[in-house]
């Protein structure tokens, strides 16, 4: 009975399934769209190209202009690739490689920061130097003696002065009231202190300088940070829009400067928290721009040692150590990030006292390559943008060696840029040498002297850089990581990229016209 019942159910199901299979489609099924074909048709291809190359959709006129054409005309593709929108998209893409955001940096000393109290600006941090107490001036016009000295009155043991009105560099249209001590404009104090340098914070005879150039207010100084990033992007835009070789990114001496940058390098470089001096260019040749000329950009040619983006302030301050500069370059442009093996580093604790990371167990896995790589920036200061020229900063300086070996007081230059102290016996041979020479092998010292340009050009010669640029570009446009079966295709693209003179536009064109780009899953 049970068996019969089961057979009945099975038969019923079979009949039912046959009947279901023969039923006409339901109304909702008839509304179902056909799945997309894996290969983009003309219109979808046009849309993808427009979005990737221009960042927007094709407009009505462009869609209509296709008419009965079978495919996107090559002339249209060439037109889009030569337009400013394409350059902007490529710059956007390069942000992912260069990370040009400096907004987290405070370029100026904290003591340079003005703050307002009852509409009067003063510097809280150094108020004690001026007044003997952390108090602002009084809300009254300042009085001056016959010799020009600031007159004060004593209130609760503090020397209190009045305010003066000054036209600040950040907004010449709106004069500000500022305490008279803070507003002092002398270049050198009565005691001989250079008021444009940070030693001025200890001298009551120094103030914010003419037009308050050695001070900052609120976020006004962020214009400098933003201009550094914009200057980098301006350079990229120029290179890509002019279809210059990709290698220009690492070799060009072109640069763009605007008002905030010029003002910073002209007047504020010695008040910075970062190592800006010695300036990597001639201060006297900076264009004549005001701080408020934010949108006025002037193209300049930098000195010989510069190497495109690799020595721009946005790069040097975004990656503040030479190791981090090398690390970013290796990752972004050589596609070989410094990552430890999956099994972890072996023997890390074996010789922790060895100060040479190229040899220390575990560390050597990356640092054997990273240290010589970092040496390419050996003449560019860490935590700054200063350039140490071979003329002023030879590999070994007698005065630095002398003070280091005799235990004498070393000059600021020696203690800042040369090895003058050691923590381990292995470091002693490098006393008196430029820091970048510490533990450098003879074959790597040329890295220091030739600079980042040699790094880029040697990697171009080995083909690693062009291959990586090709890979990164393909990953961008395909929206996926490249795989093993892409290797031959990438190799072909790389060869064409090199043979064509490193024209990025041609590389992009080759990728977006390949079947790989047009096939979407």
């Amino acid at each position: 009975m049970a068996v019969k019942h089961c057979i009945g159910i099975i038969l019923g199901l079979l009949v039912g399934s046959v009947a279901w299979a023969q039923d006409p489609p339901t109304p909702s099924e008839s509304l179902r769209c056909e799945p997309d074909q894996p290969v983009l048709d003309r219109d979808r291809y046009l849309r993808a190209l427009s979005l990737d190359l221009r960042g927007r959709l094709p407009d009505e006129a462009e869609l209509a202009a296709l008419g009965d054409a079978d495919d996107v005309p090559p002339e249209l593709l060439a037109d889009w690739l030569s337009g400013p929108d394409f350059a902007e998209r490529v710059v956007r893409r390069h942000r992912a490689l260069l990370w040009p955001n400096l907004e987290g940096l405070r370029l100026m000393q904290v003591n340079a920061g003005l703050q307002a109290q009852a509409g009067i600006q003063w510097r809280r941090n150094i108020a004690r130097v001026y007044r003997g107490a952390i108090v602002p001036c009084e809300d009254a016009p300042a009085r001056f003696g016959a010799d020009g000295s600031i007159l004060t009155r004593t209130v609760d043991g503090a020397r209190i002065e009045g305010w003066v009105e000054v036209v600040p560099y950040w907004d010449p249209a709106r004069p500000v009231r500022i305490c008279a001590f803070d507003a002092q404009a002398e270049a050198v104090s009565a005691t001989g202190t250079d008021c444009s340098a940070s030693a001025a914070f200890q001298d009551a005879g120094c103030g914010c300088g003419p037009d308050l150039r050695w001070c900052t207010l609120g976020n006004t100084h962020l214009a400098v940070n933003q201009s550094m990033a914009q200057a980098l992007e301006k350079l990229l835009t120029a290179i890509f829009q002019e279809n210059r070789p990709y290698t220009d990114l690492f070799t060009t001496r072109r640069a763009f400067l605007n008002g905030p940058l010029v003002y910073f390098y002209k007047h504020q470089s010695r008040m910075s928290r970062f190592q800006i001096e010695p300036l990597p260019f001639d201060r006297e040749r900076l264009p004549d721009l005001a701080f408020t000329d934010t949108d006025t950009w002037v193209e300049v040619t930098l000195p010989e040692a510069h190497a495109g983006i690799l020595t721009r302030d946005a790069w040097l301050l975004r990656f503040q150590t030479n190791r981090s500069r090398a690390n970013r370059f290796w990752d972004a442009f050589l596609c070989t990030p410094f990552t430890p093996p999956d099994a972890g580093l072996q023997g890390v604790d074996a010789d922790v006292t060895n100060p040479d990371l190229q040899q220390r167990s575990g560390c050597a896995y990356c640092h054997a390559l990273l240290e010589p790589g970092a040496a390419f920036w050996g003449r560019w200061s860490e935590q700054g943008v200063a350039y140490l020229s071979p003329e002023d900063f030879p590999p070994t300086r007698d005065d630095c060696q002398a003070c280091a070996q005799r235990g004498q007081q070393c000059s600021t230059e020696c203690s800042r840029f040369y090895v003058t102290q050691t923590l381990a016996r292995q470091e002693e041979p490098y006393l008196g040498m430029l820091r970048a020479y510490s533990f450098r092998r003879p074959e790597h010292t040329r890295n220091i002297e030739a600079g980042p340009r040699l790094l880029a050009l040697s990697e171009v010669a080995t083909n690693r850089l062009p291959a990586c640029v090709t890979q990164r570009t393909a990953e961008w446009l395909l929206g996926r990581a490249t795989a093993e079966d892409d290797a031959e295709w990438l190799d072909t693209l790389t060869r064409a990229f090199v043979a064509g003179g490193y024209r990025y536009r041609d590389l992009v064109a080759a990728i977006v016209t390949s079947p790989r780009y047009r096939r979407v899953r």
């Binding site: 008839s30 509304l31 179902r32 769209c33 056909e34 894996p38 219109d43 979808r44 046009l46 849309r47 993808a48 979005l51 960042g55 927007r56 959709l57 094709p58 407009d59 009505e60 869609l63 956007r92 942000r95 992912a96 260069l98 990370w99 040009p100 955001n101 907004e103 987290g104 446009l477 395909l478 929206g479 996926r480 795989a483 079966d485 892409d486 031959e488 295709w489 390949s514 079947p515 790989r516 780009y517 096939r519 979407v520 899953r521």
Partner: protein, 245 residues
């Protein structure tokens, strides 16, 4: 049929294999080099590995029982995944199809661009805290896209009502009073899909019927022709054909 063809081919291959070893290496006459022929070389798939000119190797085989097999095996073709628009593309595209209306919010005297304000939340890196762009069409992204679409579409309807028909974006081929013929609705829907998605839909295709159904349903439910077009607008913006490619 396929099985028969396969069996025949397999048999031929077997016979060919048999013919070689039967005489033994010693007894074989040297194999002559094949003469060059004028036969055209068939075009290989684009990702096919290169053909080598190594001499063919003989390999002993055994014949198993014949079985059905596909003579056209599936070839794994390298393709790129469908991608979501990044925020800059999305913002520009929305401005473009809406005729200049962006996803903004008035706060006092300031008009805030919400795509910019929410850029970090929506995956745009600042290259300080985050350095990789998140292009996943996540639930959060779709929620904000929905918000943006509703805001922009509502303003598109209002803007269109003040425009000449030839300048309208959403109501290009229909009147604003809802007295449109079915042909006018169809024409307007085709216009909108072309504008938003770049696709040219057939007048009687299933894809167009879906949009017509959405328009009719929304209009019927709200008893307001403008709501019908607003719903189509939101649907077009939140459709993968708009936010991905």
């Amino acid at each position: 049929m396929r099985a028969i063809i396969l069996t025949s081919l397999t048999s031929l291959a077997f016979l060919a294999c048999e013919a070689g070893p039967s005489g033994g290496p010693e007894g074989r006459s040297p194999t002559p080099e094949p003469a060059a022929t004028a036969r055209p070389v068939p075009e290989l798939p684009f990702d096919h590995p290169p053909l080598t000119r190594d001499p063919p190797r003989t390999r002993p085989v055994t014949l198993g029982a014949p079985e059905a097999a596909d003579l056209h095996p599936t070839v794994e073709v390298t393709a790129r995944p469908r991608r979501r628009l990044d925020l800059d593309q999305l913002r520009a595209s929305m401005l473009q199809v809406s005729g200049g209306i962006g996803w903004t919010e008035q706060r006092g005297a300031v008009e805030v661009d919400l795509f910019r304000e929410l850029s970090a939340t929506l995956g745009k890196p600042d290259y300080l805290q985050t350095t990789t762009e998140d292009l996943e069409p996540s639930a959060l992204f779709l929620k904000f896209l929905d918000d943006a679409s509703r805001s922009v579409c509502a303003r598109m309807v209002v803007a269109d009502l003040d425009r000449d028909p030839a300048d309208r974006v959403l109501l290009r081929h229909v009147a604003a009073d809802g007295t449109d013929s079915e042909d006018a609705v169809t024409e307007n829907l085709r216009w909108l899909v072309r504008r938003f998605h770049g696709r040219q839909l057939a007048e009687d295709g299933p894809a167009l019927a879906t949009w017509a159904w959405l328009h009719t349903s929304a209009e019927f439910t709200a008893r307001d022709p403008m709501v019908g077009w607003q719903a189509v607008c939101v649907g077009l913006f939140t459709h993968p054909d708009f936010y991905s490619y």
